[in-house]
């Protein structure tokens, strides 16, 4: 009796089969939608001339984070271009952006729901644990069943894997808003919506941004793994390097991933907080000094 294995795997398999058979239309809509988003982002990014692209990103890095990050961005992007990985980097970026975007659109309301409703909190929390700790490769298999090969199943697996931090930190951010500030908002006659949008969300922004940053980092790591199910991009270069035992190719692809990751990390990390050395402050100080002189 004790030796009899529960037929859990069999049941999961039949459930997946059933879903594939019965929700084919639904999955095909999602597939088309996701593909549309990924391809349009990729199309827009590719349409920007290389030089303009680099200058814009370098300026953005300077504006929010400061000179050091700006220099690193310039060198890093030029290196990726030099390695011939520009197009693949853009596709990876498109997939990461799509996954992050959808993780935000789904994750923010979920996080708010968890913060406002104790029951929702109790139900969603273990689901998030499951999403985060189930080995990422496991998602890839059903994703292929539902969405075929390519970028779409990769992005779906990425969304599942990368969404929890946004949900968790939105929840945390709202719960961390000091009780007396919430009380004050209520005392002045706030509706629940006013309380949320005028007080709780603005005060939760730094925490939510930390969650967003985590989500982007996780997306990037997952997007590489999704090369195993046929997604193109930097992951494909790395995966080819591994399968062909080509150390050089693997390293180049890996390095490009690292550069993209650090870049996204620095820029998004600084979005949530005020950076002393940022270009924004540099300009502000300059203007104040000029005003003081005149």
């Amino acid at each position: 009796m004790l030796n009899a294995k529960l037929p859990l795997g069999v049941h999961v398999e039949s459930a997946i089969d059933w879903m594939t058979a019965n929700f084919a239309g639904f999955f095909s809509v999602i597939r088309k939608g996701l593909l549309g988003i990924i391809e349009s982002i990729d199309w827009v990014l590719s349409a920007i001339p290389l030089f303009v692209f680099i200058v814009a990103v370098v300026f953005l890095a300077w504006w929010v984070a400061g000179r050091g990050t700006a220099i690193f961005t310039a060198v890093g992007l030029l290196l990726i271009n030099n390695l011939g990985l520009w197009g693949k980097m853009l596709l990876t970026l498109s997939m990461v952006s799509t996954a992050t975007l959808i993780a935000l659109v789904v994750g923010l309301p979920l996080g708010i729901l968890m913060a406002k409703n104790g029951t929702a909190n109790k139900i969603i929390r273990p689901v998030l644990d499951f999403m985060q700790t189930m080995p990422a490769f496991v998602y890839l298999i059903p994703a292929v069943y539902f969405f075929d090969l390519g970028e779409v199943p990769g992005t779906v697996a990425t969304i599942i894997f990368a969404m929890p931090p946004v949900v968790r930190l939105t929840n945390l951010g709202i719960r961390q808003v000091p009780e007396d500030v919430v009380e004050a908002a209520r005392a002045f006659g706030s509706t629940p919506a006013q309380l949320l949008f005028k007080v709780q969300m603005p005060l939760a922004v730094p925490t939510i941004m930390a969650g967003l940053n985590q989500t982007i980092m996780l997306s990037l790591s997952m997007v590489v793994i999704s090369a195993m199910i046929g997604a193109d991009g930097l992951g494909k270069t790395v995966y080819e390097g591994i399968t062909q035992m080509n150390i050089g190719k693997g390293f180049e692809g890996g390095l490009a991933v690292v550069i993209l990751a650090m870049l996204l990390d620095r820029i998004t990390q600084c979005l949530g907080s005020e950076q002393k050395k940022s270009g924004k402050n540099f300009v502000r100080n300059r203007m104040e000094r000029r005003r003081a002189h005149s």
Binding site: P178, D180, V181, E183, A187, F188, G189, T191, K198
Partner: protein, 398 residues
């Protein structure tokens, strides 16, 4: 009609608070309820009424239920039982929307730890109540600037709250509450987080603002000196109940029980007790009726060395001493009026002990207490002043 009327308010925390109410009505106390029924009693059968323009202070130590009570008044905490009438409207029966309207237009609140919004500027913080009311941007700015000027923070409009000192932050909190122009201010330990000098400043400022604005203020504090200083009336809370309500003087002169007595024992009474409370019945002779011999006999009978002289309607004329009466008799003269010393100190019924003490430095006579028409109401001796400071009540029958 009182501005705010609180009728038998209860607040019980726990899984089934409604079931605890009958027990409280039967007279079970907070400790018993906690022990036997695992419910915590925050407010236990509290009733009071606050008149328009009055500063009503609710004082108690931490855990006495005063913060819970003030939150019941605008239902930040839902009372378990009882009624709260504001301008005759029952707050406890209002829908969420009606209640919001009251919070927006009528009842503003100031918090112990300021509770300002760190992501908004000082100006935006002051305008917050108006923003919630969806007032126009220009109107909000104008009103907020006006309020900042009233609380003395002009020029700090664009600062963030955390750049200001505690005292300044609470001025912002006060300005925010004033900006909605409600009639009622709830102040929850509003000055308790400030250091003593700043606290004193803020108390004085509140009193001078109140002179102009005539709001109805319900003020929570654990600081007795603060309560005595700013409260028109004071309610003392203990274990969720109000043990005594009255003016500062009433409470100091007639503490309701040992708890209140212990509370007030360190108070500087000379700054609160007035002549009316300590004065003794004044013996006087009536100028038109009494001759010089009546005066001599009366002083002799009472064993005193001087006596006040009034006219028929009780208006104080002056004082005569036994020495001058005796020498007048020796000289064989009769005119009492010639020896009346008219140059004497008088005080009103409201004069504080603190102000009476220095007067004794300039006079050897007892001091007469008179009303607005200069009618003699009583007398204060050096000994009565000392007794007043020590806390022994006067005869109070003038």
């Amino acid at each position: 009609m009182p501005k705010v009327e609180v009728q038998k308010i209860y607040k019980v925390f726990g899984p089934a608070p409604k079931q605890i109410l009958p027990l409280l009505e039967k007279g079970e106390d907070k400790a018993g309820i906690l022990k036997r029924h695992k419910h915590s009693v925050g407010v236990n059968n509290v009733s009071f009424a606050v008149e328009e323009g009055e500063i009503f202070v609710i004082m108690g130590l931490s855990g006495s239920g005063k913060s819970t009570l003030i939150r019941c008044l605008n239902r930040l905490i839902e009372p378990t039982g009882g009624n709260i009438l504001i301008d005759g409207q029952n707050i406890t029966e209002m829908s969420a929307a009606e209640l919001r309207e009251v919070r927006r237009k009528k009842v503003a609140m100031v918090f112990q730890n300021f509770a300002l919004l760190p992501h908004k500027t000082v100006l935006e913080n002051v305008a917050f109540g108006l923003e919630i009311q969806k007032a126009g941007l220009e109107m909000r700015r104008q009103k907020a600037e006006e309020m900042l000027e009233i609380v003395g923070l002009k020029g700090y409009e664009n600062a963030k709250p955390q750049e200001l000192s505690g005292g300044m932050q609470q001025r912002v909190g006060l300005a925010r509450a004033l900006a909605i122009e409600g009639d009622i201010l709830l102040m929850d330990e509003a000055f308790s987080a400030l250091d003593p000098l700043i606290r004193k400043d803020m108390q004085n400022e509140l009193l001078s603002l109140q002179q102009k604005m005539k709001k109805t203020i319900i003020f929570i504090t654990h600081d007795l000196d603060e309560a005595l200083k700013i409260g028109d009336r004071i309610a003392i809370m203990k274990d969720g109940r109000i043990v005594q309500t009255g003016t500062a003087e009433e409470i100091l002169q007639n503490p309701a029980d040992d708890y209140v007595r212990a509370f007030i024992q360190d108070v500087n009474r000379s700054k609160i007790i007035t002549a009316a409370a300590i004065m003794r019945n004044a013996e006087a002779i009536i100028l038109e009726k009494a001759g010089i011999r009546t005066a001599a006999r009366k002083m002799k009978d009472l064993g005193i060395s001087s006596i006040f002289v009034t006219n028929k309607s009780g208006v104080l004329q002056g004082i005569v001493t036994i020495d001058r009466v005796s020498s007048l008799i020796k000289e064989g003269k009769e005119e009492l009026e010639s020896i009346i010393d008219k140059n004497i100190e008088t005080i009103s019924l409201e004069t504080l002990i603190d102000e009476i003490i220095p007067l004794f430095l300039n006079t050897g006579y007892p001091i007469a207490v008179v009303d607005e028409e200069k009618r003699l109401k009583g007398v204060v001796f050096k000994s009565t002043v000392l007794a007043g400071i020590a806390g022994e009540g006067g005869e109070n029958n003038a």
